[in-house]
């Protein structure tokens, strides 16, 4: 099973762009460690917990968003692997109760792989009037695994776009017959 870091695909323009959202929830275990409360030797809390969505997982959310866009362009026949984070800037933290919106745009694609540009936006449900606010940009490169590893053998089935991805696509109303 793959740990999904997007909840729903909102929009797919094949070979152009894909928009997905992720609701940051306090129910996610990892937020309790990132960052947990600090206590002194007597067990007194010296710094309160501050749950923040880790930036590395925001990157993963964009990788899944852009990866689906790249995979969809070739009918999910290619094993699409994140190969390079070309650029990543995140200027604000995402806290529980907020929604992240990822927009990935396909810049270039070849038989070997693809490059994408992405925008990360944040919706603060406590301030609905502000709408989605851009908090970062993440550009990536993806490799088509079978086209790049000369001589190396991989399982024939597409282990990248597993059942977790199919479930996500189906629940987002996107045709999924691979």
């Amino acid at each position: 099973m793959r740990w999904m870091w997007i909840d729903r695909v909102l929009e797919l323009a094949p070979r152009e762009r894909l928009v997905a959202v992720k609701n940051v929830s306090l129910a996610e275990d990892h937020l309790h460690d990132h960052f947990g409360a600090q206590t002194d030797a007597a067990g007194r809390v010296v710094r309160a917990a501050q749950p923040v969505m880790p930036g590395s997982l925001i990157l993963e959310g964009m990788a899944q968003t852009a990866g689906i866009l790249v995979g969809h362009a070739e009918g999910f026949r290619e094993k699409v692997i994140l190969a390079k984070v070309t650029r990543a800037t995140l200027e604000r933290d995402a806290f529980p109760g907020m929604t992240l919106r990822y927009t990935a745009r396909l810049v270039q694609q070849s038989p070997q792989g693809a490059s994408t540009q992405g925008v990360v936006e944040l919706f603060d449900h406590a301030k609905p009037g502000e709408g989605y606010v851009e908090i970062g940009r993440i550009d990536m490169m993806f490799s088509h695994l079978d086209q790049n590893m000369a001589g190396a053998e991989f399982p024939e089935h597409n282990f990248v776009f597993s059942e977790s991805f199919r479930t996500l696509l189906r629940s987002s109303g996107i045709a999924c017959d691979f």
């Binding site: 190969a83 390079k84 070309t86 810049v107 270039q108 070849s110 038989p111 070997q112 792989g113 490059s115 490169m141 490799s143 790049n148 000369a150 001589g151």
Partner: protein, 127 residues
């Protein structure tokens, strides 16, 4: 476009793709040994050159493909005479003199220099 103008564009591409400083991108710098390029960076460089110059680069046109995996081209860890001849024919923008002097397979990547990219772009633009 003059060779200097082409060099400046290539330099910009390499600064972007490899995260190196301007002054590191010398004409004789090797993309791998000097500028730290890894395999995926070659695809990034291809994409960025296409955008910078507005031409299309076919698979295997700029960097070789499947030569080093072919047993007729590589023997005992060295590129064979046939392998060198094939590389020269397929990749006329690259100077293979150093590889001819020391044909160890580990040295193949070092022939990809900044100059080779400039040669390639100059040929493409003139075609």
């Amino acid at each position: 476009m003059t060779r200097d103008e082409i060099f400046e564009k290539v330099r910009g591409v390499l600064v972007e793709a490899l995260g190196v400083d301007d002054d590191e991108v010398a004409p004789d710098a090797s993309l791998t040994a000097d500028l730290g390029a890894e395999s995926i960076d070659f695809l990034d460089i291809v994409f960025q050159l296409e955008q910078a110059f507005g031409f299309k680069i076919q698979q295997g046109e700029l960097f070789p493909e499947n030569v080093t995996q072919d047993p007729t081209f590589v023997k005992d860890g060295k590129v064979t005479a046939q392998g060198l001849a094939t590389l020269k024919e397929r990749l006329p923008h690259i100077d293979f003199a150093k590889l001819e002097a020391d044909p160890r397979i580990t040295k193949v990547a070092e022939v990809f220099t900044v100059d080779a990219l400039v040669n390639f772009c100059q040929r493409k633009l003139a075609a």
